[in-house]
Symmetry: C2
Subunit: 215 residues, 2 copies
């Protein structure tokens, strides 16, 4: 069955792999599954046809036959259940990898997104520098805890998994902040993710959409 995902017609990140469809592209490349992409405008995302697939008016969505999913965690899990390579076979190792999928999205990502939202909504406010300092203190705490957990390990829990796709893409949203410079092992972890051929194919595919729309 054909897999169709949605992505930004014009990505705010200018094709740098930060929009969330990238996670789904990367996962599909890891397992060697082809997919179609339907590009949506910001206007289209708020219209009934898209809201029926994604009630919060966001991308990506995932369609396969009569099934429609959203939330990158859920989409990656769905792909991982159907194709080898994204979750360990051993039951305990699999449960731990799923824990780390949720940790990336529930424990790390919210503070990273709060920093981005503050930039969009508060950067002209008199309090912005104080707020940014408060947010970054909380991000540093999380990064230190994550760095301590990771230590010298290659991936979050032994083998590469869908959790690493989520965590690397969440951490990448901090690349321009300088916050990652304080944690050499996290920077190396991100670099390992980016060096994977599947990551690079997904990156080229996402960038091609932006390039095509801006030539």
């Amino acid at each position: 069955m054909t897999i169709t995902i949605t992505a930004f017609e014009s990505s705010p990140d200018r094709g740098r792999g930060l929009a969330r469809d990238f996670r789904v592209r990367w996962a599909l490349e890891e397992v060697g599954q082809p997919y179609d992409v339907r590009l949506v405008s910001f206007k289209t995302m708020k219209e009934p046809a898209h809201l029926a697939l994604q009630p919060f008016g966001q991308i990506p969505t995932y369609e396969e036959g009569g099934l429609a999913l959203f939330e990158t965690g859920s989409i990656l899990f769905h792909i991982a259940e159907r194709h080898p390579g994204l979750l360990p076979h051993d039951a305990d190792a699999r449960a731990r990898a799923i824990t780390w999928m949720f940790a990336a999205l529930s424990t790390i990502e919210p503070t990273v997104v709060e920093r981005e939202m503050a930039f969009f909504l508060e950067r002209e406010e008199t309090w912005y520098s104080q707020r940014l300092a408060m947010i970054e203190e909380r991000i540093r705490k999380r990064l230190m805890e994550l760095s301590t957990w990771l230590g010298d390990a290659e991936w979050l829990d032994s083998a590469f998994s869908a959790a690493d796709i989520l965590m690397v893409t969440v951490l990448r949203r901090l690349e321009s902040s300088g916050l990652l410079d304080e944690y050499a092992n996290l920077a190396a972890y991100i670099a390992r993710g980016k060096a994977r051929p599947a990551y690079q194919r997904a990156f080229e595919a996402q960038l091609a959409v932006f390039t095509a729309g801006n030539t």
Copy 2:
């Protein structure tokens, strides 16, 4: 195998069912699994023994034989995979329920938590009322989208599932805000969750910890 979870020795919510161990208690009550509780102090949560189970120094954790998990989404999923009653059998309905588990934790909870964090960290700041208004505008948008999705349905996606445990407990954190009053179907949805016998047993069990520690 004995299941052991961790919970606050002295819960900041005074036993009102808002601490995150409540979600795990509720899920275990739904499937009729007994469990032990190990109470941890705020000091204990930051010590190496707890950090080995939960690298971010939080509760709850879940131990079963040699397996140790954290993140309520992951723990609920683990329980749901092993016992009937928390995820549909039909593959597509199951995938949709998992989507809603992630939606509760990735799309709804972060803004709810941001409101709580602003209260803790910013309520003495001159900008607090402006910030609160900005956060509540974003929460209202999410609640409206969720309310539209839910409509007259009883649960998020046909049958009651682990996603409803997560969504109801996330929404309950807004009960004192007044924000839920604007969405009658969401208030009724929360009430349906609270009326379940398993919810009530979990609530009594969590409240008993607080009461025992404060007599």
